[in-house]
């Protein structure tokens, strides 16, 4: 077992022009500002197949997204390969990205998803709702501690509000 610090990559995704759908990119921007060691940050409207190439070299990848009806203020779960893979759009699920990354490029070793509860979606406005902002703040503090401790598996918070 290597004692070298884990190389961590955070990918926030969502459309900041659609209200709380911008929670993922907002979390990515906040973590980037912290300039944490061994943590790189990326942001996009949605995950696509080329993210498989980008996440593969890292020890740990954390995806950050908004969630329509998940646990408040957020959950933090391991991304399981082959679980719930669906291809409903040009975008990929975190599970699909990790599956593809491991299949084609041999990594990453660990992958997690932080799903922040959002509340407002269906308008073109570049702002977060008040409750979403509160959830974002809690998620930032949580991730900061997890990144600094390096204990990802021990930090899992299950989403106890499953999709209908």
């Amino acid at each position: 077992m290597s004692d070298a610090p884990k190389r961590i990559h955070l990918v926030g995704f969502g459309n900041p022009g659609r209200l709380d759908d911008g929670l993922g990119p907002a979390l990515a921007a906040a973590i980037e500002e912290l300039q944490l060691p061994n943590v790189s940050v990326d942001s996009d409207y949605q995950l696509t197949v080329d993210d498989a190439h980008d996440v593969a070299p890292y020890d740990v990848v954390v995806f950050a997204d908004a969630d329509v009806r998940g646990r408040e203020p957020f959950y933090f779960e391991s991304v399981e390969v082959g679980e719930g893979i669906s291809f409903s759009s040009h975008g990929c699920s975190p599970s699909a990205v990790v599956s593809l990354a491991r299949e084609l490029f041999g990594g990453p070793r660990e992958a997690y998803l932080i799903g922040m509860r959002g509340y407002e979606w269906d308008a073109f406005e570049e702002r977060l709702s008040e409750k979403a902002r509160e959830n974002l703040e809690e998620a930032i503090q949580f991730l900061k501690k997890v990144f600094q401790s390096g204990d990802f598996a021990g930090s899992v918070i299950e989403n106890d509000v499953k999709a209908l």
């Binding site: 995704f13 969502g14 459309n15 900041p16 022009g17 659609r18 709380d20 759908d21 990326d42 942001s43 996009d44 409207y45 949605q46 696509t48 197949v49 080329d50 498989a52 190439h53 980008d54 997204d65 908004a66 969630d67 329509v68 009806r69 998940g70 082959g82 719930g84 893979i85 669906s86 291809f87 409903s88 759009s89 040009h90 975008g91 990929c92 699909a96 599956s99 593809l100 299949e103 084609l104 799903g115 959002g118 979606w121 269906d122 308008a123 073109f124 406005e125 570049e126 999709a163 209908l164």
Partner: protein
């Protein structure tokens, strides 16, 4: 009456929210088939009151898949607002490079991620393997090429627009950066490989079509008019040109129409059962004036392509229909790969053009109140139309996106497929679902883009009888 209505909601592997409803008669034959698209219509209103120079950046929020198309179309319209009809060479070539990067990555994404599972694994393959992971396991080399082609296009966008997303490269009257020597050399290292991989993908799409010609000849296919913009000499031009529309036989309906006059030739109709508008060619009328846009239409409308490998592929494509328009819906995939190869060739051509290192980035002319532009976006002709007042604020915006133009054609594809695969069978089958999705996906539609939050897009299928009672239901995803 014992009518039944089958609803497929939403359609998988297309963007946003859509559902298919199939109304059956008492003999379980398709009486009516419709693709309903729930499209946000608030965007035009959202940008009213904003200063015009913000628009090329702001419109990228409209779509998570082709933000560059909206960025460039808005910038072209705003060129007119600032009185610029012709950009400097570096500005136009940087924008073109950005656009070919966008087309390359978008076509690669569609073909490898969305289309190849159907084509390589078969329409009736188990959904567990009929996806990009299945392709990666069975055809790892091809899947890797797809990922890296997409990534290359994304890197071109980043270098030309300044950022991977929400780029600022194109500004009214020009561009805000050139391509450095270091950036150019980095792209030159891999461009031959991208051209070669594009040729390989084209071969897959062509061979698939040729091997399944009989089946595809009827699969969601129908004769139609086609529209695109076209260069003055009739060459395919994805960035700029006049409007050309042709009939199903290839006769010109109109040609080289300046895009500023689009509203003299095209109109939009609203129908009560859909949120989307229905554009049509005015001279033909709303009933029969619909047309197709996108790769199939562009290859059909072009007299030639000005890159050798893509031109050779176009000649081969058109030979299949003896030079007449090809109206096979699934031939969109073949045409899309011709354009991907063309884009790779164009990127190579531009990378070797020293104008990209020029410094004359922006010009301005006499201020105008109205700007209209088109762009051949990956999915088809995109129209941006704006009016700006004396305070520099946008007072009117009208956008016609390619998925809107393909609205009727997608409905017709659904109708044709449903008639072929459901008649006499009053239940939802996996085979029917697959084929409906495959027919719609050929158009690579991007519906209400970019709201993707988890939990919003299950696949729900309902069979409802005439009284509104659900008699069958399937949920996917």
């Amino acid at each position: 009456m014992a009518e039944k209505r089958i609803i497929v909601e939403p359609v998988t592997r297309v963007e946003g929210h859509g559902k298919v409803s199939l109304l059956l008669d008492e003999e379980n034959k398709v009486k009516q088939a419709r693709l309903h698209i729930v499209e946000f219509r608030g965007f035009e209103r959202f940008i009213q009151g904003r200063p015009y120079w913000e628009i090329p950046v702001m419109v990228q929020r409209l779509c998570g898949i082709c933000p560059v198309s909206h960025h460039l179309a808005a910038a072209k319209a705003m060129d007119q607002i600032v009185g610029v009809d012709k950009l400097t060479p570096v500005a136009e070539k940087m924008r073109r490079l950005m656009h070919y990067g966008q087309t390359l990555q978008s076509h690669a994404l569609h073909f490898f991620h969305l289309a190849s599972p159907d084509l390589l694994m078969g329409f009736d393959a188990d959904p567990e393997i009929r996806n990009v992971i299945g392709v990666a396991k069975k055809f790892p080399e091809l899947a890797t090429q797809g990922v890296l082609l997409r990534k290359y296009g994304q890197e071109v966008i980043k270098a030309t627009s300044g950022k991977k997303i929400h780029g600022t490269g194109a500004i009214p009257g020009g561009i805000n950066k050139n391509l450095s020597i270091a950036e150019r050399d980095e792209f030159l290292k891999d461009i031959d490989q991208m051209v070669e991989w594009s040729e390989g993908a084209l071969k897959v799409a062509k061979e698939y079509t040729m091997e399944h010609l009989e089946e595809l000849g009827s699969f969601g296919s129908f004769e139609s008019s086609h529209l695109s913009h076209i260069r003055e000499d009739g060459c395919m031009d994805l960035y700029d040109g006049g409007l050309r529309a042709i009939t199903k036989d290839g006769d010109k309906i109109f040609d080289h129409i300046p895009v500023e006059q689009y509203s003299d030739y095209l109109a939009e109709e609203v129908r009560p059962w859909s949120y989307m508008k229905f554009p049509f060619i005015k001279s033909i009328g709303p009933e029969d004036g619909w047309y197709r846009v996108g790769p199939l239409s562009r290859v059909n409308t072009a007299d030639f392509i000005d890159t050798p490998l893509a031109e050779s592929a176009r000649v081969e494509f058109m030979a299949l229909t003896s030079g007449k328009p090809n109206n096979i819906t699934l031939a969109y995939h073949w045409a899309r790969m011709i354009e991907m190869l063309h884009s790779a060739e164009k990127i190579r051509e531009l990378l070797n053009d020293s104008d990209l290192q020029g410094n004359d980035l922006v010009i301005k002319g006499e201020r105008r109140e109205e700007g209209i532009a088109t762009l051949e976006a990956p999915r088809g002709t995109l129209f941006h139309h704006y009016k700006v007042d004396e305070n520099d604020q946008v007072t009117m915006a009208n956008l016609i996106v390619s998925t809107t133009s393909n609205n009727i054609p997608m409905n017709l594809a659904v109708q044709k497929i449903a008639e072929e695969y459901i008649s006499g069978k009053p239940e939802i089958t996996e085979g029917l679902l697959n084929r409906l999705e495959i027919g719609i996906r050929a158009y690579d539609p991007c519906l209400s883009c970019a709201t993707h939050a988890m939990g919003k897009m299950p696949l729900e299928v309902k069979l409802i009888d005439a009284e509104g009672k659900v008699v069958d239901q399937m949920v996917k995803g």
